[in-house]
Amino acid sequence: MIRTLRIPHRFSNVVRGCRGVASTAAQLPGPGHAHGHLPSSTSPITSKLHFFNSVTEGGKQIPTYRVIDGAGQPLEGAVVPEIDKPLARRIYENMVQLPILDDILYNLQRQGRIVFYMTAYGEEAAIIGSAAALAPDDEVLAQYRESGVLLWRGFGYDNIMNQCFGTHLDVCGKGKQMPVHYGSKELHYHTISSPLATQIPQAAGVGYALKRDLTRRGRNCAVVYFGEGAASEGDFHAGMLLASTIPSPTLFIARNNGFAISTPSSEQYYGDGIAARGPGYGIHTVRVDGNDVLAVYSAVREARRLCIEEGRAVLVETMTYRVGHHSTSDDSFAYRPRKEVEDRKRLDNPIVRFRLFMEARGWWSKDEEAALTKRVKQEVMAAYKKAEALPKPELREMFTQVYGGEEPWNIKEQREELQRLVRKYGEAWEPWRSELKKHRGEGKELLE
């Protein structure tokens, strides 16, 4: 076994080499150049005209924090976080279940059983490592690739399947949204919406609400996940600004997975990733190896502690790689070589790295691996079979929960209009005739 496997440099997905311009850090005035400060400011006056374009001292890229290497061995000088065997196993099992679940649901989409799905291949460490570092009641506002957080908190495969199939047991939204738009009030996971980055300033508000709630102040924070592509949206800037300035205890976790659909990160930003922006807002920032679950766990633990203690935004950028396609509507081999993906899976596999760490401690074995894989597959398949047989929600539900309180006249009248149409054409018009049968109650509740 290779003891100190270094992950090949070419897999760094923050490509700075192509800038063609040297990175330079800001320079504090030295002796002979210092002339006091701006009024009401600690900005020192300098007589030297100097432009800078980097937040780091040497003008180099922001370093990436890592604990274990590709072979699961702690780096020299690394501090392995205090986790016991049960926690380590729980983390590992949660990581393993993700691609098994993803495989099944991805194939279900391919077979036409569900209409859409998004996998999280390659990002298991970033998602589970961060989930494990949070309190179970920290408020999570995610983007769409973080269902691992929900599963960590006990959401269960049944709820996943019911949402993806849009059955009448869909607790997230009663069939109103596309697959993977999960949400759970009990598990403190805010319902996913498709528009990117909208959750970011909302998280700053959620953090403020936690601050205002005396039973949760100093105990919880808001946690917001987003990709490096979504971080280009104006909402990212707005959210960072609010959480740093007002301030509110909001933990920002950027999953830098190298792609926004087909757009590589080299076409997404020119600066040093997302981490370089944190200091621009004056907040504590760290970049971490997103494929090292122990590094993610450590970094997010500390980030969370700082966030709650200071009541202000903290930014964590997890560097990882999107092994899968963006979604079932995407074929990523249209814009990247198969070999690149295969190499990444082989040489920088977050699950393998942690398994090697666990095996080295005698906390895991090949037999347990086989048993786990088998069990997860069985459970997921059982949940699928159950959900597939269930009908869609009652047709009447289409008009519920538009407003709270008294139902406005337009909703009432439109429901009655649909009622009239179903009564008149439900049998005669074929698309409706077979579609009605898929709904619980077959539309009959509308006809009463």
Partner: protein, 414 residues
């Protein structure tokens, strides 16, 4: 020497008083930022006395002072307030009664550019009344986040013209929050206040009425008050309504509309229009500033000034026109409007926003559907033109009394 000075003055002393009491001599204040509409001061829709104020129709006091409902008004006090003071009063009551309520937006801490938040930061502290950085999408998103946690978020957008960066948050998030989670989450605690409508010199970006843009955002409500009493009651209802509400305050009315306002905590119901004048021959529907122009137009109909008399046939001068203030734009009170038009057979809708895509078009379509056989004339819209609000031409852009009068006369004589 003293005598000669005395001789000089008598000439001045004999001048009529009115020449000496012009604004130039009295006021040291700069022209108000929110504009000024002196014609409103004499409106019969404003309630200048305590009695009239306390008897405001549809007003519901939140705290009962007496078990006997007939004694509801006993002991209640009113105070003279303009609209920004009434808004401030409502915010103060909301902050006092609801521990979770916070008020935030650009410049609200020092009192707000229209003084709607004067003294609130001092009274309730900077944790509850605070400035945000300059980002409307951030303000809306932040408010949504707060409200999603069950707290009361009262956000201010400095001008309705600047609400558009928040459009995604409002339409894609706030409006859909409850529906998409099937009620697991909601942002009913969110209220977004913004000054809107023309001010006389606002041009493209300080005069807009954006209500038309939001009509498709099913899940939000929109409310527009016409006066201080209405503003206070409707704002408290909006804050407490279990849905996100956009509350648009016609900025020219901040100072120009003044009346006695009940000091207690009261609400005026959302979703209900108010009939200001009863009539049988024609219905006029409007909201915000144009309500007063409609009032003026109807006065001119019954008593046209000499220069306009030739344009107002004598037979029309006894026409009884029903004037309705819509108040809640979404969901709008179709029952009241339809009932009225079924009686009068004619409808004129007046709003400042441009013609195409404006709320008047929506009202027109629905009313023609409901009242088709009872209509004696096509439904008429009196609106801003389909251009951005043009600075030097505003007098010809905004629907003013003459345009309302013209539409009423033409509709009555169709």
């Amino acid at each position: 020497m003293f005598t000669s000075r005395k001789l000089a003055y008598p000439v001045l002393r004999t001048l009529p008083r009115s020449h000496r009491s012009g604004r130039r001599w009295q006021s040291t204040e700069a022209h108000p930022a929110g504009g000024h509409l002196p014609s409103i001061a004499t409106s019969t829709f404003l309630k200048p006395t305590r009695d009239l104020s306390l008897r405001t129709a549809g007003l519901r006091y939140v705290d009962q002072t007496d078990a006997d409902p007939t004694r509801e008004m006993v002991g209640r006090e009113t105070r003279k307030m303009n609209m920004y003071q009434a808004v401030r009063d409502a915010l103060s009551i909301a902050l006092t009664k609801d521990e979770t309520a916070v008020v935030f937006g650009e410049d609200v801490a020092f009192g707000g550019v229209f003084r709607c938040t004067m003294g609130l930061a001092e009274e309730f502290g900077r944790e509850r009344v605070f400035n945000t950085p300059l980002t409307e999408q951030g303000i809306a998103g932040f408010g949504i986040g707060l409200a999603s946690m069950g707290q009361t978020a009262i956000a201010e957008i400095q001008f309705a013209d600047y609400i558009f960066p928040a459009f995604d948050q409002i339409v894609n998030e706030a409006a859909k929050f409850r529906f998409r989670s099937n009620g697991n989450f909601d942002v009913g605690g969110l209220t977004i206040r913004c000054p809107s409508m023309a001010v006389g010199h606002g041009g493209h970006y300080h005069s807009q009425s954006p209500e038309g843009f939001f009509m498709g955002a099913h899940g939000i409500k929109m409310v527009i008050p016409r006066s201080p009493i209405q503003a206070k009651g409707l704002l408290l209802s909006s804050i407490r309504d279990p849905n996100p509400v956009i509350f648009m305050e016609p900025k020219v009315l901040y100072r120009s509309s003044v009346e006695q306002v009940p000091m207690d905590d009261y609400e005026i119901p959302l979703g209900k229009a108010e009939t200001l004048l009863r009539g049988e021959d024609l219905t006029v529907v409007s909201w915000g500033t144009p309500v007063y122009h409609c009032e003026t137009a109807l006065k001119m109909l019954s008593h046209p000034p000499p220069t306009l008399a030739p344009n107002v046939p004598a037979t029309l001068r006894s026409a009884k026109v029903e004037l309705i203030d819509l108040r809640t734009i979404m969901p709008w009170d179709v029952e009241t409007i339809a009932e009225s038009v079924n009686r009068t057979g004619r409808l004129v809708v007046v709003h400042e926003a441009g013609r195409t895509g404006g709320v008047g078009a929506e009202i027109g379509a629905e009313i023609q559907k409901r009242c088709f056989l009872k209509l004696n004339a096509p439904i008429r819209l009196v609106t801003g033109w389909d251009t951005p609000v043009p600075m030097q031409y505003e007098k010809f852009y905004m629907p003013d009394p003459i345009r309302v009068l013209d539409a009423v006369v033409e509709t009555l004589t169709y």
